[in-house]
Amino acid sequence: MREVMDEFGASGRALGRPAPAAARAELMPSGFASPAQDWFEDRIDLNRHLIKDITSTYIVRVSGHAMDGAGISDGDELIVDRALHPRDGSVVVAVLDGELIVRRLRITHSDTSTDPETSPTTKSNSTDPGDGTAAGVALVAASSAYPPIPVPDPDGLVIWGVATRCLHRV
């Protein structure tokens, strides 16, 4: 088992690991210091920009047109963070009939005492049981051709992760 770990264990770390910073400009050997050394910055790093936590970030591919209206097209890649708490309006990857689907989460509350932070839809995503106060939960498309998917049992809904970015070829 350990050998397998050694063989492949490093692969997950390739993504989003920033290169060692700074110090390069300081190491110039000559007496003529670089005039830029006080302004040295790391080069722009997409991984750092797009990924908050490498352990909870996954990339998935969209299949279909239901989210066209949200700027998410067929074939696009979505960056999904499984650690994020889904809220009303989040674009989520949810489990429906054993499949992963992408939709916008809509939570409507019945009364004023409701805490909007308390999502009833966090079965897989949070430790708190999410004592549901939601009157209605639905997964809605961003295209009128696809009717909203009602969620009669919000506690049974599994939110796989929350989409944070869409990679779309222009």
């Binding site: 492949f8 997950g12 352990t55 909870s56 990339i59 979505l78 897989s124 430790t127």
Partner: protein
């Protein structure tokens, strides 16, 4: 299974036991101290498959070993079906459909990445992470027992949230007890996946130790168990109560440490338990190898695989063992040749290792169907401790061949890392077009997290 019998919840029985306890530790909550947590993923391969394919949830699922040989991981549902661990696939394949059994080949690319994610999460909760295998690690935890348990719960929740994988956590004063606590946490739902040894009432800990055989204790093999039984040590409780000095005299210092650990004294250090004792590179062939050429090629690949691992760990080895074997199910000629080659000096040089591995070839019978081969490197030391005196350029046996010095290994390793593992190889192993003996994985799931072409699909339909 002894693990699941009901000795929990606490308070169910707190009658004080008049017997003296072999366990050195009494207090139920205890002062600020440090403990060892063993965290491991439940049914790791199965859980990794399910993390990306929710349709597998709740269905019987098994993952097969290299070459789809036999069952190496079973979901709870597959265990209920009575599929034994290690069952050869060909024996159960016929019934798979009737059972509704889902089957996957080992997706090491996926498991490796999921493992790295888990280990990174674990590393955020401790100053001292010791990765023990692909799916388990020891962590040092500080604070009161309650605080340690709380950290255990946080770890379990965070790994679940970030990776979708379920883990169990066992916390105890020693690694050996942490192992027990971990399995207890798995077997008894009342723990909810996290068991702190010191927070379980003492009488229940005793009851557990009395139920467990010595072989249930980490590090006690069957050979020692037989000898222990012969002197009346049958259960984990007996072993915990044994005299450590006597155990050292009659057995070994290793077993004495186990006794001390059972008594609550930590004495298995990380270098001992992770042990860089050997590097093993071995595979079963998809189709049997029956020719000397085929075996030579296989040994080349495995020797270079081992060299690559040595380079990655920054180690060099002094002894190489090469072996091959026929199938235990074979009705034809059986053969299991092996040879042990002391190397002239510590080395991680792939060409030296390959040449040594080839010395197995005279023992190979042409025409016999070999189904596996492998290379083991032992007597390891950190590279650079002592410069290799005999590099290839100086080896007279290398003759006028191309000069491949001691930089060759790291260079090949770098190229392999950059362009893929089959991009470069020495001599017989320099091959990309798959030989017919490369690993068979007919029921492989996508490499969801390591390959753009294999990303999980989410439906917008």
């Amino acid at each position: 299974m002894a693990w699941s019998s009901g000795v929990w919840p606490p308070g169910a029985s707190t009658v004080s036991d008049p017997e003296p306890s072999p366990l050195g530790r009494g207090p139920v909550t205890g002062p600020v101290t440090s403990g060892v947590a063993l965290v491991d993923v439940n049914n790791f391969y199965v859980s990794s498959e399910r993390a990306f394919d929710p349709s597998l949830e709740g269905r019987p699922l098994v993952v097969l070993s290299n070459n789809d040989g036999c069952v190496i991981t079973r979901s709870a549902e597959a265990k209920v079906l009575g599929i034994p661990m290690g069952a050869p696939w060909f024996q159960i394949a016929g019934q798979a459909k009737n059972w509704g059994l889902q089957v996957r080949s080992s997706n090491y690319e996926l498991y490796g990445d999921m493992s790295a994610r888990v280990m990174e999460v674990l590393g955020r909760h401790t100053t001292d992470l010791e990765i023990y295998s692909i799916d388990e690690a020891f962590l040092t935890l500080h604070g009161t027992h309650r605080a340690q348990q709380a950290t255990g719960r946080t770890i379990k929740a965070t790994v679940r949230r970030n990776t979708g994988l379920p883990v169990c956590v066992g916390i105890a004063p020693t690694k050996t007890l942490a192992k027990l606590a971990n399995r207890w946490a798995k077997g008894n739902p009342h723990f909810d996946g996290v068991c702190h040894w010191d927070l379980v009432p003492q009488d229940q800990r005793r009851a557990l130790l009395r139920r467990l055989k010595v072989t249930d204790v980490w590090g006690v093999g069957t050979r020692n168990a037989a000898r222990l039984n012969a002197i009346g040590i049958d259960t984990a409780w007996d072993l915990a109560a044994a005299d450590p000095v006597l155990i050292r005299k009659r057995f070994s210092v290793v077993l004495m440490r186990t006794v001390l650990e059972l008594q609550g004294t930590p004495c298995i250090t990380s270098s001992e338990s992770t042990g860089n004792e050997q590097v093993l590179f071995s595979r079963s062939f998809a189709t049997p190898v029956t020719t000397l050429d085929g075996m030579q090629q296989a040994l080349s690949v495995y020797a270079q695989g081992a060299a690559s691992r040595l380079a990655r760990k920054n180690l060099q080895g002094r002894v190489l063992t090469a072996f091959a074997g026929t199938s235990p199910f074979s009705t034809g000629t059986r053969s299991a040749p092996s040879i042990c080659i002391p190397l002239p000096a510590h080395t991680a040089n792939p060409l030296e290792l390959t040449r040594a591995a080839h010395r197995l070839l005279p023992l190979i019978d042409e025409g016999v169907s070999y189904i596996r081969a492998g290379v083991i490197i032992t007597d390891l030391q950190p590279a650079g401790t002592q410069d290799s005196l005999l590099t290839l350029d100086q080896d007279p046996a290398a003759g006028a061949g191309p000069a491949l010095g001691k930089d060759t290994g790291p260079l090949l390793h770098q190229i392999g890392q950059r362009f893929g593992r089959s991009a470069i190889g020495l001599g017989h192993a320099g091959l990309k077009a798959g030989s017919d003996w490369t690993m068979k994985r007919d029921m492989l799931s996508p490499h969801y997290t390591t390959k753009w072409a294999d990303l999980p699909l989410v439906k917008a339909q």
